[in-house]
Symmetry: C2
Subunit: 344 residues, 2 copies
């Protein structure tokens, strides 16, 4: 019998509610001989207010020993902007070297897109997760005065870019369309941009079967709404990936369906799976948050841990459920429907 | 009799064609007693290939003496990415301290949006034009090797932010809805983000009649496609503004209609007006580029130089023309139609 050690960080707002349904589906889909051991970690706004801690070293050390992490949502208006994001979410991504931030942009049949004309959307964004303007390398001078100067430094390394670019090529090569688009802003951010472009071309020589192109990030947003079917796999920098994947979520029916994986392919540290949406404090505790993005993140988690059939089963259950949705359902009703489907 | 000294930089690709129509409309709409003196400057890919120059100091000195600049488009695939952008376009924006980069996002009646459900879109983005990641403060180490490291520094000053934020408040206060949205990413880019947020709140105290809110840039892209009617005036950083205004162009019917002004409100240097679109080398020389974005940029130029009635007339001509468009028209046919309308 196999076992799976899973860290669960429900976090803030609707996090608890959606994670509960994700775990139900996970348990239901796994074969009986797989033992799931979950450990819940109390992290987020509540703990921050109670103890001042965002991610204590002891917790980080424990998390390190787990097979994977399922995270609900982090953030609350009562905590200053940036504290939990940098002290918890980004700290985990950096500490566990989650350099592949994987975010599918898929419009499921039956889901309404805000775009006219029933577009076909099925791409995946491979966002770099450990570099760029996210490194926390900034500062300010004469802070709080009329003479304040503030900087933010984007750090980019050949090493960091090459591994995410190669990962993206591999994913593109494994998909039917075999197309990879690099998104950057190499006409303005010339140093980082030229490094990305050089490595993109270099690694591309190993994948002659993959068709490539390049788009500036501003132009990419245009194609996301006018021609989303042109995209297959996209590889991009941490910040551009952040922006593009929210836009991707919007055009594929909303942030309530968007899944993500923060992946360390080496397995040296646990990878972390989380819905792209936030903690939505306005609807928290009302049992009406859509758990689908979390369930799809569970599918990514299963795939990552080698349960490919189970991952496919969860995704199929979501796809089937989405074609039949009618009327508003509660968080647990969606969970019930999905549990029933994967158990069938 | 008044006179207007106008520098014209047609630039590359379709630049020449669209600028020609913009100038026809400009001449047609101005009162007979206004003498327009245009000086054309040969800048762009052709000159770069011929002489290696992007923007010689002598040309910069001449441009400085003009009342305004009308620019077509810059860029050609034969020139390495960044050379003309940084050596010409951005050099002008920085040399003439164009700190207000003004970009309306307006869906004209009769224009099809890629968004479903006939949204009402009428906002304006006030993009900072002289700071942020556009300052050209980056570099690389071990360039070209597997150990390359590249940086890009975003520079932000209280002085630079305050002037653009105050300008945006003024514009918001003068519009019927009186709403101003700050867009940044202050949960990750905490130093720059907190500086923007602080100044936004501080200057806001001078404008109690303006309603304000804040959005992270990723969330803003979602609202651009799901709820564009929520925006009135948006103020944001140079890079976020670049991205958001292309997205704004896309949802309001395309880059062929998007106008922009690079404005120095002090008048110490000439302001520069240009369509948001690029040089579109694929359709250059065929007389089929839509000159509407350039004509709308001419309206912004007129407004800036104190010809408010004429500016309104040009915008009304475009609005009327757009409701009646049927079939493909050539660049000059669109020009003919607009000239006829403003002369009427
Ligand atoms: C909460 C924030 C730090 C985070 C990010 O910017 O990466 C979020 O927007 C995301 O996309 O996961
Ligand atoms: C061409 C490029 C330098 C420019 C920018 O990034 O500002 C363009 O995209 C724009 O929006 O005017």
């Amino acid at each position: 019998s196999r076992s799976l050690r899973l860290a669960v960080i429900p976090g803030d707002g609707i996090g608890q509610e959606v994670v509960a349904q994700g775990l139900r589906v996970l348990t239901a889909v796994l074969p009986a001989d797989v033992k799931v051991e979950t450990t819940e970690y109390d992290l987020g706004a509540r703990r921050y207010h109670a103890t001042g801690e965002t991610l204590p070293d002891s917790v980080l050390a424990e998390l390190k020993t787990q097979d994977a992490i399922l995270l609900g949502a982090i953030g609350d208006p009562s905590v200053p902007s940036g504290v939990l994001e940098r002290g918890l979410l980004l700290k985990l991504r950096f500490a566990f070297d989650h350099h592949i931030n994987l975010r599918p942009g898929k419009l499921f049949p039956g889901v309404a897109s805000p775009l006219a004309g029933d577009p076909v959307i099925d791409f995946v964004v491979v966002r770099e997760g450990t570099e760029g303007p996210y490194v926390g390398n900034g500062g300010s001078l004469r802070t709080g005065t009329e003479h304040e100067v503030a900087t933010e430094v984007s750090l980019n390394t050949a090493f960091g870019i090459e591994r995410v670019v190669r990962d993206a090529y591999r994913r593109a090569a494994a998909r039917p369309r075999r197309k990879l688009t690099l998104v950057h802003k190499n006409n303005v951010l010339v140093h980082a941009g030229h490094l990305w472009t050089r490595i993109f071309e270099q690694v591309g020589r190993e994948f002659p079967e993959v068709t490539t192109d390049y788009l500036h990030v501003d132009a990419a947003t245009i194609f996301f709404v006018t021609q989303p079917e042109r995209f297959d796999v996209i590889v991009t920098d941490n910040l551009f990936g952040d922006i593009l994947t929210d836009l991707a979520a919007a055009v594929t029916g909303g942030i309530g369906l968007a899944a993500s994986g923060n992946i360390n392919p080496s397995g040296a540290f646990p990878s972390m799976f989380e819905p792209v949406h936030g903690s939505a404090p306005d609807i928290a505790g009302q049992g009406k948050a859509d758990p689908t993005a979390t369930v799809l993140s569970v599918a990514m988690l299963l795939e990552h841990l080698g349960f490919a059939d189970e991952a496919a089963k969860v995704e199929a259950a979501v796809a089937a459920d989405l074609t039949e949705r009618a009327g508003a359902r509660s968080t647990s009703q969606v969970g019930d429907a999905l549990v029933a489907r994967v158990s069938g």
